[in-house]
Symmetry: C2
Subunit: 698 residues, 2 copies
């Protein structure tokens, strides 16, 4: 893994170390001296020794090479201290000192300086405003928190230092251990992407956990996470999910989080498992850290109590898992092993009078069925059953079978020692069947994410130069909002549009109309008139004989509506049979963290009233674009519902990808809507376009 | 409360008591002798004494009055034993003996006999196949389970006995106490409704909890629960929610659960709080049993840690609660009480260096704001904060303010004693902010349910006789499926239909058409042809001059399609301008537990593709019918979305109620669909009807 000097230093300088009671400097020194296996050197120009250790005035004076400097000096000298440490050759710095970007413009300036120093000296810098860093293999506890972590195979990063202290206290109580723990602080230099990358390459980290309030560079994070997820699961709580939460997060950290839609899409595209709350985060971590992945999503439930078996089955029904169907051989084995009153179908009920042997044999039979991906053991206290013996039997059988197992040992004190046996063996156990099933669902979700094939986004052969001309023409006119006059953008990117053109005289309109079979649609073209239909600026089904007069009428109405409107002309367009198709919408906007987001939905009420839309971070690959069609609730309408002919989904998928390519190619396009994109059985045609551009980006 | 001899007996006979090790009879005797404050009398004709108590051959021989008989004899003699006990004058019987309805036809016969005896002697009978009954005030533990309950104010019923043993073990561990606990068993006599009623009248029960796999009589349960909920919250897990779960429950209990849609609607209409899993069940019970109800849904969050404050805010965003807006006075008070870096807006951040005094004062200020309905205190471990002192301060301030408070004391061992202080005071405390907020949401949900005004269903003045004639006419023809020929059912119940009639000759068709303004719609009427449009059996927009020929054509097409079809004639109907309205659907079917269910949705794709429907148990009151319009996602389309004129919602609401009255009046109507019911700005018109009848019910 990277970040060696941060996580595996031999010599650590604590800059600002002091003996003053209640100080952060003393807390860090104490924590380091308590557990660090390397050398801890206090640095403080005003002390000869700190806690019995010889103290140096600066990092440069420390004999031997210092790998890591932990900085706890006051804010006003922190940047200078970091520079000195860098000059003395340290590889990593943890800046615990606060009073940077989180406090206003002076702090923000200081944070920029810190970043400059880090860049100049290629420092791996954590913080500022960090609780510190823990790495258990070396006993490194460079935090000022009250707890150290137990050793384990989970690495955890958090944008909230307070949450780390809470989690460590809680995890220590439960025997949950960590490889590394990082308090990200203000993320002036190292951010979530760096740690995901380092932990992905770290053989000792089996699960990456994070509490994040924002991701700095969405696309870079997606790229890194995708690679890491092949081998190592990433589970994140992204807080500020809701409007209220996002505004609380903004006032707390001073950063503006991107839209929830962008995070939702981006994290899903990255293969990250997203936990909604703390309980989900650690339930996911526990099972991912200890159980193998299932080969199928089908679960067998084995229970000695009907009701709890039904609860577990409900939980499976609520999840993306399924109830396994046993093979005939399994059913015969159950028949032989269980009494007549038992239920041999899934959920298997071994009946309340089952001794451990019967229960364990049923678990064994379930684990041997080739249709079973995972087993959930659900048990209630009975007079004949020793929970401890059952726990030991489940542990043994899980190990032999190598399939994941989760358990509900339902009870309190009576189940305590059994739960300890299961915990020790890494088999999750909960009172509530829903949580046990939830943890198995996490395993399946991760298996799917780790196996996902990421297609490279298709690069279509497009006329980029022509697209640039269209945008430049708008920019030259001083327009930031473009409409049908920019339809050529679409043709340039290989997207079908109705035959037609924008003309600027009645005669030209007639020529255009005569070149088109049948009646035409005519629309006034003006950057100043956004809702053309509302002012009578659109005429549908104009016969050639009426084209001349219609041209005059449309322009007159536009002038009437807004005398000083810029009128670019009138668009004369082929009249499509909209009834033969399904109106869809493809839109793009830009998220501050994730860049262009592509939206898809069905037109009209589906987007406006039902909010039935789906979003992806661009660039959108073919499987991702296909997934967008699957996502919308109205998808059956594209697929022949109610006796319609199915539309050509491939053309819609291709249009989504081409638009993704267009907005990726041109950062000047801030927003874009193709509405409607009419999906028909033989293709998809973009009938109208609206976009907003930033001419400075051209 | 009712059920006095069951829950507060003075003398209890254990029929089938024995000293045999491992027997149920011994377990019940032991449990009774361990805790019961009244007299426990063993009954067994084959023993002179059991566990040192004089034993009688039958209940009649027991000196003095026996209030309750607990029956643990073998199945084949259980009915006889119950009869003897009834004859001896017992008021209540708990039948622990199994081998009844759950085991097959012989057991089912025995269960019927048991029910007959209970009816004959007016016995309050629990079971059979029950774990038993606990009532803590009298120390009654008439179960064979390994645990007794602690005293408390929660009463709990469960259709799973095993779940009771698990819950008691778990609850004892956490100090959660119960008033009564009932294992419902097969519910041969007493069922969930009886216990809800008794506990509703019981001053010692503050919360009713239940685990149910089915409700026997939905409408009766709704009626009882509605009354109880005004004073006492009811929280239920109804398992078998999902398709997989329902089928598991059916194989487990042998009963067919009704549809999940019926339970969802029925429990909501009853004001019952529904928990999805065990964790939710007890989180809800804990806060309802101990905290006052909030007066508004607005919550204040007070925290010493930004990140966890954001998590709590996200949880509020996910819930039906809102983040309280503080008054100006509150903001000034926060400003005076908190340091400059603190956040005085909600979520209030007192900053990590807050000592208990500052934290507690902030809680106090939040509790005094008139806009605040409840407070959530969220804290992480810090060096300067004593969790215990903070817990004590929160307890004191909650008591003074009388507002509900939930807390997150985030941590493990460090928070243990503080959690004990909060537990003791009945203030919920969780690690996860989402669970603390979830428990506050339960309080708000219950407040809303307890205050809900239940309107009596409107009884419209209808022509019931005419409706009966229409149904009888169909029945006489031997039809079980009726169509437009039954449109008069609707008119009889005051539902507008287009002008028109069913005629049986071309001349009559012309007369009918001439009586209608404008063109007409003509449809062939045949009980044998369900999809008339598909065979060309519908013509829309027929001018008077074409009516004669169209009649002949329609009949010919029907004959051609099915030569032996019964053709009742042709319907000649006014042609409505469907474009001016919104097509909706009102449907009815019957649920085995809940009776008629009324469904509402928008027509076409909304029901068929988007499954955007809502359901109520009939009879549907006006507020409930209005709620159905609010429920559907497409509701804005009724309310003027996309520039339409809003429809007359009152007419739709009235139609729903009238159809509810119709199907309640006529159990012979098994299913009914009015599709479309065209909702227009000036009313709603039922254009087509289809129904299935059971002639035997007429």
């Amino acid at each position: 893994m990277g970040l060696e000097t941060l996580f595996s230093p031999s010599r650590v300088a604590v800059v600002g170390a002091t003996e003053r009671e209640g100080s952060v400097g003393r807390a860090v020194m104490t924590n380091m001296l308590d557990s660090f296996e390397g050398e801890t050197v206090p640095v403080n120009p005003n002390a000869a020794s700190v806690l019995g250790r010889e103290t140096y005035p600066d990092v440069a004076s420390v004999p031997g090479e210092v790998d890591l400097a932990v900085v706890v000096v006051p804010g006003r000298i922190a940047v200078e201290v970091v520079r000195e440490a860098a000059e003395a050759g340290v590889g990593s710095v943890v800046v615990i000192t606060a009073g940077f970007g989180e406090t206003g413009s002076e702090g923000a300036r200081r944070e920029r300086e810190l970043r400059e120093v880090a860049t100049e000296y290629d420092l791996d810098l954590v913080g500022p405003n960090s609780l510190g860093v823990v790495s258990t293999p070396a006993g490194l506890n460079a935090t000022f928190g009250p707890e150290n972590a137990l050793p384990g195979n989970i690495s955890f990063m958090s944008q909230s230092g307070a949450f780390i202290t809470a989690v460590l206290d809680w995890a220590n109580d439960r025997g949950i251990g960590f490889k590394d723990v990082v308090s990200l602080g203000n993320k002036a230099v190292l951010d979530e992407r760096d740690f995901v990358e380092a932990w992905g390459a770290d053989d000792d980290t089996d699960v990456v956990l994070g509490y994040l309030e924002g991701i700095d560079d969405g696309p870079a994070f997606i790229e890194t996470a995708r690679e890491v997820v092949r081998e190592t699961p990433i589970v994140l709580v992204k807080s500020g999910r809701t409007e209220a939460g996002a505004s609380a997060a903004a006032s707390h950290t001073g950063t503006i989080a991107g839209s929830e839609a962008a995070y939702e899409a981006g994290l899903e595209q990255a293969g990250v498992i997203r936990a909604e709350n703390v309980e989900e985060l650690f339930d996911a971590a526990s099972i991912l850290a200890s159980q193998p992945l299932p080969e199928t999503d089908a679960v067998a439930v084995v229970t000695n109590a009907g009701g709890p078996g039904v609860m577990a089955t409900d939980a499976i029904g609520d999840s993306s898992l399924s109830l396994a169907s046993f093979t005939d051989e399994t059913l015969s084995r159950f028949e032989r092993a269980l009494p007549e009153e038992a239920n041999i179908y899934n959920p298997v009920d071994v009946i309340g009078d089952a001794p451990v042997e019967r229960f364990a044999e049923a678990v064994d039979i379930a684990l041997s069925d080739p249709n079973v991906g995972a087993v959930c053991v659900v048990t209630c206290p009975t007079a004949v059953l020793s929970f401890d013996d059952l726990a030991a039997a489940v542990v043994e059988r899980q190990r032999e079978a190598g399939l994941p197992v989760a358990t509900c040992f339902m009870g309190g004190e009576r189940t305590e020692s059994a739960r300890a046996i299961l915990d020790e063996a890494g088999i999750p156990t909960y009172f509530d069947p829903a949580r046990a099933i939830g943890s198995l669902e996490t395993l399946s979700a991760y298996r799917a994410a780790s196996e996902r094939e990421y297609a490279e986004p298709t690069t279509f052969d497009v006329d980029r130069e022509r697209a640039r001309e269209v945008l430049a023409a708008g920019a030259e006119r001083g327009d930031t909002r473009l409409g049908v006059e920019a339809m050529d953008l679409l043709s340039a990117y290989g997207i079908a549009t109705p035959a037609g053109e924008v003309v600027s005289s009645p005669d030209a309109a007639l020529d255009a109309a005569e070149a088109i079979d049948g009646d035409v649609v005519m629309k006034v073209v003006s950057p100043d008139i956004l809702h053309k239909s509302d002012i009578g600026g659109v005429e549908v089904g104009v016969a050639d004989g009426d084209v001349h007069d219609t041209y005059e009428d449309l322009v007159a109405r536009a002038r009437n509506y807004q005398p000083d409107a810029t009128i670019l002309g009138v668009q004369v367009q082929e009249l499509l049979d909209l009834d033969a198709g399904v109106e869809t919408i493809v839109g793009v906007n830009r998220d501050p963290q994730f860049g262009p987001l592509v939206l898809f939905g069905l037109g009209g009420i589906f987007v406006e009233v039902l909010e039935d839309t789906t979003v992806r971070v661009a660039p959108v690959s073919e499987p991702e674009a296909t997934g967008m069609l699957d996502d919308v609730r109205a998808a059956p309408l594209l697929r022949g519902a109610r006796g319609r002919t199915p539309v050509d989904e491939g053309s819609v998928v291709s249009t989504i990808q081409r638009l993704s390519q267009l907005v990726t190619d041109f950062p000047a396009i801030l927003e874009l809507d193709v509405n409607p994109l009419v999906a028909m059985p033989d293709g998809a045609t973009a009938v109208d376009i609206r976009l907003t551009i930033d001419p400075d980006e051209l």
